[in-house]
């Protein structure tokens, strides 16, 4: 494998040099400053970018069980740049204005298909972005590093993608699972009261990440006792047995690290049937008011908590100017008619805004310059972001967004809370 990737790299360098020779006559400006030491010839435009256009690639699930969120990951960023293109394009740091084209392929959450999509796109696009899924993004991570293709602002909470040592061409967008679990743990530990916590988590990196973050926050807090910790498989159709077992502990807080909407709904229902009504924590992707809490009867519990960094398009925020602009663009340019049921649409919109920030700082039309510019974005309050959160891509080991606020369900939507009641 090493031999293979090395020889491939050599071919890549040779090609890039040849390309540099042929184009150095035209698109070259400001030579001499390059002390970067990148393997590519400085200043020569990378694939997928011209003086007037830049092309982005996405591989994400557009069919299958994860297609709902997957479709959103394309719609948001497409809407953002659709609106920008209609205004004439995006201003880049090298002084040129470019329109942004997006090519999205369906991987159906299948890692092999994701890799095949990447292979198909890599020579035509400037950067890959926004795609959803941990196993799918992992499938072509090595190849992206070898080919030096940016895998930027992808939708996975896997910390691997946010480690610049191991993943030089990657950066996750959404908070890692640990960030979310930790935020709730900190709130709970600071409540000043004694709490017995029951944990039900998905038996994979997703569930384990939430639990790890939660435990790190409550470690040493004498008022928190974890009374039972159970798991379920992502393929399970029912978690009734787990709920029965957890209800028997009489815990007053349920930490439910669950990524599947139907199971989250039936967990809430089952607990009510057992007349067990603890305060309840749900992750950001399974806590939608319309999709989970209403059908699950979330109002029956003393409090349902979640974490967020984006405004929800439904409920109290619907009149917010950010939200109005976003929904209109989503309809007109994102080919997405209804107010979305998944936060991934909002996240993808923010990915668009963050990419634009990076483009604005990018002084050369190269992938190298893009990654440098991207890792320099900090303190950026993207549209739709909640107060108290921001994009900060400068922190090693953290995704572009690592700040979240804890929110509590108020019967219709969510409101940010400062304390656990």
């Amino acid at each position: 494998m090493n031999m293979h990737s090395r020889s491939r790299r050599a071919v890549g360098i040779a090609l890039a040099s040849a390309l540099a020779l042929t184009v150095s006559g035209c698109g070259r400006e400001g030579d001499g400053g390059g002390g970067g030491g990148g393997s590519r010839a400085e200043g020569a435009a990378s694939p997928g970018i011209t003086d007037t256009t830049v092309r982005l690639g996405i591989t994400t699930p557009l069919s299958g069980a994860t297609a709902g969120p997957g479709t959103c990951t394309v719609a948001g960023v497409t809407a953002w740049f659709g609106a920008k293109n209609a205004e004439g394009g995006v201003q880049f740091g090298d002084g040129k204005k470019r329109t942004v084209e997006i090519e999205a392929l369906d991987d159906a959450y299948d890692p092999q298909q994701a890799k095949a999509n990447y292979d198909q796109l890599k020579d035509d696009v400037f950067a890959m972005t926004a795609g959803l899924g941990t196993p799918t993004n992992r499938a072509w991570r090595d190849a992206a590093i070898a080919d030096e293709v940016p895998q930027a602002l992808i939708m996975t909470g896997d910390p691997l993608f946010s480690d610049p040592e191991e993943s030089p061409w990657q950066l996750g967008f959404v908070p890692v699972y640990q960030n979310e679990g930790q935020a709730f743990g900190e709130l709970l530990a600071s409540s000043g009261k004694d709490h017995k916590v029951a944990i039900l988590s998905q038996n994979d990196d997703y569930g384990a990440g939430y639990v790890e973050g939660f435990k790190s926050a409550v470690e040493g807090a004498s008022n928190i006792e974890i009374v039972e910790e159970l798991t379920y498989e992502a393929t399970d159709t029912s978690v009734d047995a787990q709920l029965t077992q957890l209800a028997a502990t009489g815990a007053d807080v349920m930490f439910n690290a669950m990524s599947l909407v139907p199971l989250a709904v039936s967990s809430l229902q089952k607990a009510q049937q057992l007349n067990w009504k603890p305060s309840w924590f749900l992750p950001s992707n399974t806590s939608s008011p319309g999709g989970v809490l209403e059908p699950g009867g979330g109002a029956a519990f003393p409090g349902v908590y979640s974490v967020a960094f984006s405004k929800a398009p439904a409920g109290p925020a619907a009149a917010d100017p950010d939200v109005v602009e976003y929904l209109a663009a989503l309809k007109q340019y994102g080919n997405y008619q209804d107010p979305p049921a998944f936060p991934h649409c909002q996240w993808s919109w923010m990915v668009g805004a963050t990419l634009e920030q990076a483009f604005g700082e990018m002084t050369e039309p190269t992938r190298d310059a893009f990654m440098t510019a991207l890792r320099g974005v900090s303190g950026f309050e993207a549209p739709l972001m909640l107060p108290g959160t921001s994009v900060d891509a400068t922190q090693p080991g953290q995704p572009a967004v690592s700040s979240v606020v804890v929110q509590k369900f108020n019967g219709k939507g969510y409101g940010t809370v400062e304390a656990f009641e």
């Binding site: 069919s63 399970d236 029965t244 139907p262 049921a341």
Partner: protein, 293 residues
């Protein structure tokens, strides 16, 4: 003790979900000799039709009836214009065609109605009934009751009526059945239509809990197939008992057998199948297939 009984009751209600789909598989198998992997997909399509009607203001019960009628027609048409071309050939080919059909229907449903989770209204309320310190929802009770009624009706159909006998004859040996004057083609259509209708009922029963998505029954189908093999392909009573057994044993093993836990419980039904089939290859309740030579 309270937890133990609750786990058994939970297992029975999960088992009823598997049983609903397993019964439809048994019906098609008894009527055509095939295992229809698209059974779940066809059921989901019917539930989508019912759901679509309810969003247009049609009362739930009417919507369900319409979807059942649609299912009968759809099942019969699938048999007549798709499956018939493969029925005379290698049975493996026909089974693969049903897998293709499953993929196709799932894709079409996703294209028409998106992959978002839709809330399907339930015929039964979620209010609970408590007895002996155990709470069980009316929905679980209702689902189980419907399953038992359907099971009894199917058992009666196949063992007690001329139509059932004719269906079985066609499945068993289409050529001989044709020679003895049975309208084989029409009987096959009836078998597929009935199975699709049963699938629609099963889908409507479980959709409120699983929430309606194109892939709603994919995981349940695996358990249903396990129940079908365990209970015996020919016995409606057998598959229902097997489905309940799977649901209950899975729960109990997860809680009371420490090394299994919730991580390995999915393997329980399959270990069970392995053991049972070693002893009784025809399944717990199945009849031995006798081939005259």
């Amino acid at each position: 003790m309270g937890t133990f009984v609750q786990l058994v009751v939970d297992g029975l209600s999960a088992g009823s979900v598997y049983a609903a789909i397993a019964l439809a598989i048994v019906l098609v198998h008894s009527a055509t000799g095939l295992i229809n992997f698209a059974q779940g997909g066809m059921a989901v399509l019917s539930v989508y039709i019912a759901w679509w009607l309810t969003t247009r203001g049609v009362p739930l019960i009417v919507a369900l009836l319409v979807s059942i009628v649609f299912s009968i027609a759809f099942g019969a048409l699938v048999e007549r214009y798709l499956m018939r071309r493969f029925e005379r050939g290698d049975p493996d080919t026909a089974v693969v065609v049903t897998i293709g059909l499953l993929t196709l229907i799932t894709g079409v449903a996703g294209w028409l109605w998106t992959y978002n989770n839709q809330q399907f209204p339930s015929l039964f309320s979620l209010d609970t009934v408590s007895f002996l310190g155990v709470s069980v929802s009316q929905r679980s009770l209702g689902t189980t009751a419907v399953i038992i009624v359907v099971m009894a009706a199917l058992q009666g159909l196949f063992l007690g009526t001329k139509l059932g006998l004719a269906l079985r004859a066609v499945a068993n040996n289409p050529e001989s059945a044709a020679f003895s004057g049975l309208p084989v083609g029409r009987l096959l259509m009836v078998g597929w239509g009935l199975a699709a209708a049963l699938g629609a009922v099963a889908g409507a029963l479980v959709a409120p809990q699983l929430t309606l998505t194109p892939g709603m029954l994919d995981n349940a189908l695996v358990y249903a197939l396990a129940a079908v093999i365990l209970g015996g392909l020919t016995s409606p009573v057998g598959v229902v008992v097997a489905a309940w057994l799977i649901g209950v044993l899975e729960n109990l093993a997860a809680v009371y057998v420490p090394f299994i836990g919730y991580d390995l419980k999915v393997a329980v039904p399959f270990i069970l199948i392995f053991v049972v089939l070693l002893v009784r290859p025809q399944g717990l309740f199945g009849r031995k297939t006798v081939v005259r030579v």
